[in-house]
């Protein structure tokens, strides 16, 4: 009974300031960052939605896009998502080498995605369908390019964390960083669902 009376004031106000672990609020803070990033992508999607049919008598989606290449890229990104998931599961089991191995596989898929995307951009620009050709292509390059840039920085972050984990091991700080990158990486896959649906698939219907 005595414990109840002692705890009762705590229901209404803090008797003592309660201390959080270092980094306890990182995940919510990072989530808020991802949400703001999501809003940035929303604006790019809205721009593409408005300008996506303004071809300026230039080539349209059906003349330019290769759905097999997009399907390949989607597969790369989806596979990288699941392999990052396996890296997180290895991290929870304190398996340092497993984590590093799965992170390496994730990196390979991420780089493969970037490789295919750069090939596609290069191909389009050589066809004369660069970002300066029409409003459709400007908004296309802005949207898909921003996503690609995110993946590129995700890969850089992944390499940084692989070095950190191999040198310092799975210390709490590295676990926190890996969780943040996990959110970032899966978030990019979510954005890609929007890209392949609204830009590529709807453009080809």
């Amino acid at each position: 009974m005595s414990t109840v009376t002692q705890q009762a004031p705590g229901d209404f106000w803090e008797v003592e300031p309660h201390h959080h672990h270092e980094g306890a609020s990182t995940s919510i803070g990072f989530w808020v960052y991802l949400m703001s990033d999501c809003l940035m992508f929303a604006i790019l999607f809205a721009t593409f939605g408005v300008l996506g049919a303004s071809y300026a008598a230039g080539p349209g989606p059906k003349d330019l896009f290769d759905l097999e290449l997009v399907a390949l890229n989607t597969a790369f990104l989806l596979l990288s998502s699941i392999t990052y998931g396996f890296a997180m599961l290895a991290m929870v089991k304190n398996n340092k080498n497993g984590t590093l191995g799965w992170l390496a596989v994730t990196l390979v898929f991420g780089l493969a995605f970037l490789g295919v995307e750069l090939y596609e951009f290069n191909h389009l620009i050589h066809l004369g369908a660069g970002p300066q050709r029409s409003a459709f292509l400007s908004s296309f390059f802005a949207l898909v390019g921003t996503h690609g840039l995110h993946v590129a920085f995700g890969c850089l972050w992944l390499v940084t964390l692989m070095i950190q984990v191999s040198q310092r091991g799975l210390i709490p700080a590295n676990r926190r960083r890996l969780s943040c990158l996990s959110m970032f990486w899966h978030f990019l896959d979510v954005i890609w669902i929007g890209v392949f649906t609204f830009v590529y698939l709807l453009g080809m219907i």
Binding site: H20, H21, G23, A24, T26, S27, I28, W31, V32, M35, C38, L39, A42, I43, F45, A46, T47, G49, V50, A53, S54, Y55, A56, A57, G58, L67, E68, V70, A71, T74, A75, L78, S81, I82, G85, F86, M88, L89, M91, V92, P172, R175, R176, S179, M183, H186, F187, D189, V190, I193, G194, F196, T197, F198, L201, L202, M204, I205
Partner: protein, 138 residues
């Protein structure tokens, strides 16, 4: 104190410590092999179907094709949220969910507002400003 009570107390303390540790780890659960595989298989199905439909030429009605493709995308985004990003109403005392709901509201306003306003701007342009009517391409 009987041994059973002591055991119960110990068990309770341990569980509380685990819950506490989990919370301070990063506030999210990390999922399991099973949940990741469920998410992955659902995503593969939800990606393969729209690609197959569009690459196969789509349905007769373009609207139906678009609706199916967009519907699949929305379901897949939800699958990713639940199985890969481990979204739930509990993590960080519901604040991640609140942030997500706020973002979705803003997102819908931005997207629907832009498309709606700009569509009407385009259709209500004066004829001499309408490139389509002048044959300059749309």
């Amino acid at each position: 104190m009987t041994s059973i009570e002591a055991q119960g107390d110990k068990h309770h303390a341990q569980r509380r410590a685990e819950a506490h540790g989990d919370h301070h780890d990063d506030g999210h659960d990390h999922g399991s092999f099973r949940s990741y595989m469920t998410g992955f298989i659902l995503s593969v199905i939800l990606t393969a179907i729209p690609f197959a439909i569009v690459m196969g030429g789509g349905f007769e009605s373009r609207f139906l094709t678009a609706a199916v493709v967009v519907g699949m995308a929305i379901v897949q985004i939800l699958v990713h949220m639940v199985y890969f990003l481990h979204m739930n109403t509990r993590s960080d005392e519901g604040w991640t969910m609140m942030a997500l709901i706020f973002t979705v509201v803003i997102l819908v306003i931005v997207l629907a507002g832009s498309l709606w306003v700009m569509y009407h701007m385009n259709t209500n342009m004066m004829p001499q400003m309408n490139h389509e009517a002048l044959g300059l391409g749309s």
